[in-house]
């Protein structure tokens, strides 16, 4: 059946808001065609040239080691391999160089969110970055690993196969460092990664049955080989399975030998706990080949029905609403499970979600997070983004610090969280700063046309139409016109301050509930 969805609903959910290009494409060839193309984007980054041509300013003075930098740097650095970035971990390199790598990935992400043709991949990359959260703001080593993580792990698999994705994450330097598996050793393994693998990456907290059962055999279904959930014993055993999975970070491996320092994945046999294990009621024989124990854990968790339920629930909360109905959840789980051996499992699951009634009726159900608010405003008001350090700083302060969220949960995805008084102030500040171009991050190309409106009401209406595609309700026109202190019917285009006022009108129209939600 051909997809019947309002194009704006679709672009608010599967893109960073409607942009002129997408609206035009959909008007020409329909939602169905647009969706099918978006589900299968080409591997290459269509914004690569734009990113390479963009610059971000870096300025610092370092005492240890002595250095002073004050220059524009190309964002093209994000395309370099990890061993290049790993060099910033040398003691002779100031920490600001590592921190800058997070800023460059954030800047490239903003550029893609606004300009990439492959919007759905950007939306899904954001989803997975939160699902497989790492904190590059709190840890320079994670920052050095971030460009490769973003490119070779998250973006590469964002619409692909979950089991492959999971192994790419498990063996990535970013996750190895962030959840400490690189320092885990047989004998007293570090449980951090194994625990979050179960709780956050796969089966999910609802399947954590530790308060109910202390022994693996007591978990319902365990004796038949299909435990309903997991307990601490599974976490302990899985942690053992991942010992030896590490990265080339220069650590000593005995006899005076050391691993090279490249950030690449490696396996160190002498760190692996080789004895038999039991994970999710599956018995692992001792002395398996290299990596086999960890891979088997990944097979077990990726295939577990709780994983389908948990991830599809999150996906529906992202793409539909905070409380998705049973039908959309079932459709997503069905597609996820049926296609779990397919290379485009995730794309097929997204497609199943989009083809539900719940999706069609979900317009306005989600409060935009600050990154979405930023990107959708830039797209709707025609801002050709220039990433600047103050812009990234303001976004960081808005509560959504890209690649810099501390706990492994990723940013919250419930409306209420983003509506606290602090968040509201940040949202307003973000829009005003953007429309005033306070951070030299690109001026609105829509504002000059709005400034040519004959009356103030017409100007407010033009701003509203530009952002939301519909005539402004009279209440909003009044709020904007009177709030600014203009008289109804007053000539607008002849005012000397018509342009700055037009920009402000865009910001105020973006503060309406209709634009704050998606």
């Amino acid at each position: 059946m051909t997809l019947q969805v309002d194009p704006r609903t679709m672009l608010n959910k599967l893109a960073f808001g409607p942009g002129a290009t997408e609206l035009h494409e959909i008007a020409k060839s329909g939602c169905e065609t647009w969706l099918m193309q978006q589900l299968r984007p080409p591997a290459q980054d269509d914004c690569a040239a734009r990113i390479a041509a963009s610059k971000l300013h870096l300025k610092y003075v370092s005492k240890t080691p002595e250095a002073a930098v004050d220059e524009d740097r190309s964002l093209g650095v994000v395309a370099e391999p990890i061993d290049q970035h790993w060099k910033t971990l040398d003691k002779a390199v100031p920490f600001q160089e590592r921190a800058f790598l997070r800023a460059t990935v954030a800047a490239a992400t903003l550029i893609r969110a606004v300009h990439s043709r492959w919007q759905l991949r950007e939306v899904m990359a954001d989803f997975w970055h939160n699902h497989f959260n790492v904190n590059a703001a709190g840890d320079g080593t994670v920052a050095a690993a971030l460009p490769a993580y973003d490119r070779d792990v998250i973006r590469k698999h964002a619409l692909g196969n979950f089991r492959e994705f999971l192994e790419a994450v498990a063996s990535s330097a970013a996750m190895q460092v962030y959840l400490n598996n690189r320092s885990s050793r047989g004998g007293a393994a570090n449980e951090n990664y194994a625990r979050e693998l179960f709780e956050l990456h796969t089966l999910g907290r609802p399947a954590y049955l530790n308060a109910l059962y202390n022994r693996w055999r007591d978990v319902p279904g365990a004796l038949a080989g299909h435990p309903e959930g997991y307990i601490d014993q599974d976490v302990y055993e899985a942690a053992r399975a991942f010992t030896g999975w590490t990265i080339e970070d220069g650590a000593g491996i005995g006899m005076g030998r050391k691993l090279p320092a490249t950030g690449k994945f490696t396996y160190v046999e002498i760190w692996h706990d080789n004895y038999q294990k039991r994970v999710l009621a599956g018995e692992f024989d001792p002395y398996q080949p290299p990596l086999a124990d960890g891979r088997r854990v990944l097979d077990l968790v990726a295939d577990h029905p709780a994983t389908a339920r948990y991830i599809c629930g999150k996906l529906c909360r992202r793409l539909v609403s905070d409380n998705p109905d049973a039908a959309v959840l079932a459709a997503a789980e069905h597609a996820w499970t049926e296609n779990r051996r397919k290379p485009d499992q995730i794309a097929r699951t997204v497609e199943a979600v989009v083809r539900t009634d719940a999706f069609r009726r979900s317009s306005g159900a989600k409060v935009k997070r600050p990154f979405e608010l930023y990107a959708s405003f830039a797209r709707a008001s025609g801002i050709d983004i220039v990433p600047t350090p103050p812009l990234i700083g303001v976004l960081d302060g808005s509560g959504q610090r890209l690649f810099g969220w501390g706990p492994p949960t990723g940013h919250p995805d419930e409306n209420d969280y983003w509506l606290s008084s602090n968040m509201m102030r940040q949202r307003w500040g973000l829009l005003l700063g953007l429309s005033d171009d306070a951070w030299k991050a690109g001026a609105s190309q829509a504002a000059p046309a709005i400034a040519e409106a004959r009356t103030s009401e017409q100007a407010a209406d033009a701003a509203h139409r530009r952002l939301l595609g519909i005539e402004a309700p009279p209440k909003i026109v009044h709020a904007v016109v009177e709030g600014i202190g203009l008289k109804p019917g007053m000539p607008f285009d002849t005012r000397r301050d018509a342009l700055p006022l037009a920009r402000r009108m865009l910001a105020y129209c973006a503060m309406t509930p209709a634009f704050q939600t998606r």
């Binding site: 007293a188 501390g406 706990p407 606290s420 968040m423 709030g483 509930p513």
Partner: protein, 412 residues
């Protein structure tokens, strides 16, 4: 009942010009009831690295010297009188300020305290503690966060609460009115000045969640921001009393913001503060030393600053769980069970470690690996509600179906 409507009515005359209002601050007020500050250490504080019996043989056997408190060496841990079971309990050497408060009997410690549920999940444990329940299925009996329910039981269900946290914490879930501002040094202003204020006042008349949030936010700004400003509109730098110095840290900013709002005497009774970074699976010794030092100094500053109001301030420091007795090979500790609760309140039996000490031999440990829980954190909160918080009927309403045990925190 004190509601924001009353607070606003009391200050309407001044709400016209922000510059004028600043002169008016602190006019006095509605007699304020006792204040409750909830400080949450996110990530699971390694209680056995912070307060522990240094001479206990399981403790010395299960952790290498760098992972535990020591009685001697360059930086011996600080001795705690009033410890249970004839053991040499000590406090982390970086916690001098907290040690002083303990010796002054202003604070008490409850070891082996925490959540009555076997979860080792950060997010599961945090949610249960913040909701004030032991099992997820109780969520239907007890609506919202425990701090929100306490406010309701205290007759302040519609009064604002203040969270020095970017988003509303679970403790205050479903409370009608929580003002959030992680750091008040820049004020709590409305961006865009007067023009934006005039537009926003008119823009949000609808019934949607965004409309309601916007209206609440505008009221919160009205209430707090104007009291932080000088006649020229600039934010007054905060001048803490008692020679207190707050550091430039998350907890320093958080407690300074709380103290500043307490000093405005707006009748706000519930405060929430967070401090993150306690999930020390790896490289724990320097990280923990840094964290406990920051926490201790911030608590020291807070008590010095509010010295003239301590008779009506109750502060509780909690974390979602303690950590494993046996350390891992990353020089860290993994998720454990019972932890440590720090209480500051008037009329306290302070300078004591309360709660039964379960011991550290493997037969006494929870699941043979983690410190067992002997005091439910809700018993601690219930005792404080009935005592210094002067809400004797609150515990039954805040923790329905829960039977608090006697902890003995209060002088009888």
């Amino acid at each position: 009942m004190l509601t924001r409507r009353h607070l606003l009515a009391a200050s309407t005359a001044l709400s016209v010009a922000p510059g004028v209002r600043a002169f008016a601050a602190p006019r006095d007020p509605t007699p304020a009831g006792p204040i409750l500050v909830s400080l949450f250490l996110r990530g699971g504080m390694d209680s056995l690295g912070v307060v522990a019996p240094v001479d206990e043989r399981n403790y010395t056997a299960d952790r290498p010297p760098e992972m535990r408190l020591l009685a001697d060496g360059d930086k011996p841990a600080l001795r705690l009188e009033g410890a249970p079971a004839g053991l040499d309990f000590r406090l982390h050497p970086e916690m001098g300020a907290l040690h002083d408060l303990y010796r002054d009997r202003r604070i008490a410690l409850v070891h082996a305290s925490g959540l009555d549920n076997g979860t080792r999940s950060h997010f599961g444990a945090q949610e249960l503690i913040e909701r004030g329940i032991a099992n997820p299925d109780q969520i239907t009996q007890a609506k919202g966060g425990w701090l929100a329910r306490w406010l309701a039981a205290a007759g302040s269900g519609n009064a604002p609460a203040f969270a020095a946290i970017p988003g509303v914490p679970e403790e205050l879930a479903e409370h009608a009115d929580t003002i959030c501002a992680a750091d008040l040094r820049g004020g709590m202003n409305l961006p865009g000045g007067k023009q934006a204020a005039n537009v926003l006042k008119r823009l949000y008349g609808g019934a949607s969640a965004v409309d309601a949030a916007a209206r609440r936010t505008l009221q919160g700004i009205d209430l707090i921001d104007t009291r932080l400003r000088q006649p020229d509109g600039k934010v007054m730098p905060y001048q803490p009393a008692g020679g207190a110095v707050y550091e430039e840290t998350e907890i320093g900013h958080g407690l300074a913001s709380v103290a500043r709002v307490i000093r405005t005497e707006l009748g706000i009774r519930a405060f929430a503060v967070d401090m993150g970074g306690w999930d020390t699976h790896e490289n724990q010794p320097p990280r923990l030393a840094n964290l406990v030092g920051q926490l201790s100094r911030a608590l020291g500053a807070f008590h010095a600053d509010l010295h003239d109001r301590l008779d009506r301030i109750v502060l509780v420091v909690m974390s979602e769980f303690g950590r494993r007795l046996r350390s891992n090979k990353s020089n860290g500790t993994d998720h454990g069970h019972a932890g440590l609760t720090i209480v500051s309140a008037p009329h306290l039996v302070g300078g004591r470690i309360h709660g039964a000490w379960p011991g550290l031999s493997s037969d006494k440990l929870d699941n043979a690996v983690d410190l067992a829980m002997t005091t439910d954190i809700r018993s601690i909160l219930a005792e404080l509600m009935a005592g210094p918080l002067a809400t004797p009927h609150a515990p039954a309403a805040v923790f329905p179906g829960f039977n608090p045990q006697h902890v003995g925190l209060l002088a009888t």
